[in-house]
Amino acid sequence: MPVSAARSLAIILVVAAATFATRVVPFLVFPKGKEIPPLIQYLGKVLTPAVIGMLVVYCLKSTPVLDAPHGLPETIAVAVTAGLHVWKRNNLLSIGVGTVLYMVLIQGVF
């Protein structure tokens, strides 16, 4: 271990506290029993689909588009996952086939 056990434990506790702090903010601002303003209710509803959109981009953020294979494995795997899901609407099938396809593509094809 590069630092002492006591310091390691302290680091973990500090990271845990800082992580929890980011997650708890809205619940401190709008605690139980306090009326949630209509503007925040509105944001709560429209934020989820927007965040899902962001997370798709977030997952793909490190895709090297300028170098070969120019993000082709990611493009193909995302398209197949989405297409299969529109067709069959089966979560596990779409995710399973998409993931295995991606692994085959980056390990064997490109």
């Binding site: 980011t22 809205p26 989820t48 927007a50 899902i52 959109g53 995302v78 993931t99 991606y102 390990q107």
Partner: protein, 235 residues
């Protein structure tokens, strides 16, 4: 404890994509942490107390001489800052969950947030137990994955490169599911476009906070238009 068994049984199938993803990104974390000289018990402790994917990957670098606690706090806040906004969608659901809500707040990772907001509670299960079951199972996969990685990461018998795509695929599937409901489409497009633009401007390491702010700004500007399209998106 009545009803919990049923809740876990009903919730399990919804968590299988997270099971796949968390086992493997958990394993990757365990390997990284073990390479620093930490046993699987340390990896499990961190996954139990911290429970954050990219946050824990980053945190591995904190275990080095010369890293100050100020840096630890600052960098952790920066990598997790998007989570500040997640709770807004879950205020009503969590506030009706009694003491369990503290665990629910603690467990608000990207994947769990997405499941909690978009999964319809099946017939015959109490909502609070169902949501709690999802959160608890998701974290157990994460803890298990990090332990496996730290214990036996180098012994994994098959070539697992790319398996973390399960996480991307999970979000793609949720994206498609949400898309089926017409009123979600504009927010989804706003999310993708804002993230894409901010990614080009700020780069992969620091585009998330600008993206969140950009998204909220557009959503506020478009409020009258979007509210006319109906409500109950995250219900």
């Amino acid at each position: 404890m009545s009803g919990y068994k049923e809740a876990f049984k009903k919730a399990f199938p919804y968590t299988i994509p997270v099971l796949t993803g968390y086992l493997f990104i958990g394993i990757a974390f365990g390997i990284m942490y073990a390479e620093k000289g930490y046993s699987f018990l340390w990896a499990m402790l961190m996954s139990l107390l911290v429970y954050a994917g990219s946050g824990q990957y980053l945190a591995v670098n904190f275990f080095a001489p010369g890293v100050s606690f100020f840096q630890v706090i600052f960098m952790t806040l920066m990598v997790n800052v998007r989570h500040i906004f997640y709770g807004i969608s879950l205020l009503e659901k969590f506030n009706s969950m009694g003491k369990k809500r503290w665990y629910m707040i603690f467990g608000l990772t990207d994947e769990t947030y997405s499941l909690l907001c978009t999964t319809k509670v099946p017939e015959g299960v109490a909502e609070d137990k169902f949501l709690f079951a999802i959160s608890l199972m998701d974290q157990s996969y994460w803890v298990l994955g990090s332990a496996i990685g730290a214990l036996a990461g180098t012994l994994i018998p098959f070539h697992s490169e790319g398996i973390d795509f399960a996480m991307t695929a999970l979000f793609v599937v949720i994206f498609v599911e949400q898309w089926m409901d017409r009123k979600n489409r504009i927010p989804e497009v706003i999310g993708v476009a804002a993230a894409f633009i901010c990614l080009q401007i700020f780069g992969a390491d620091s585009f998330v906070l600008p993206t969140m702010l950009f998204i909220i700004m557009i959503l506020l500007v478009a409020r009258t238009r979007l509210e006319r399209k109906g409500d109950a998106i995250c219900q």
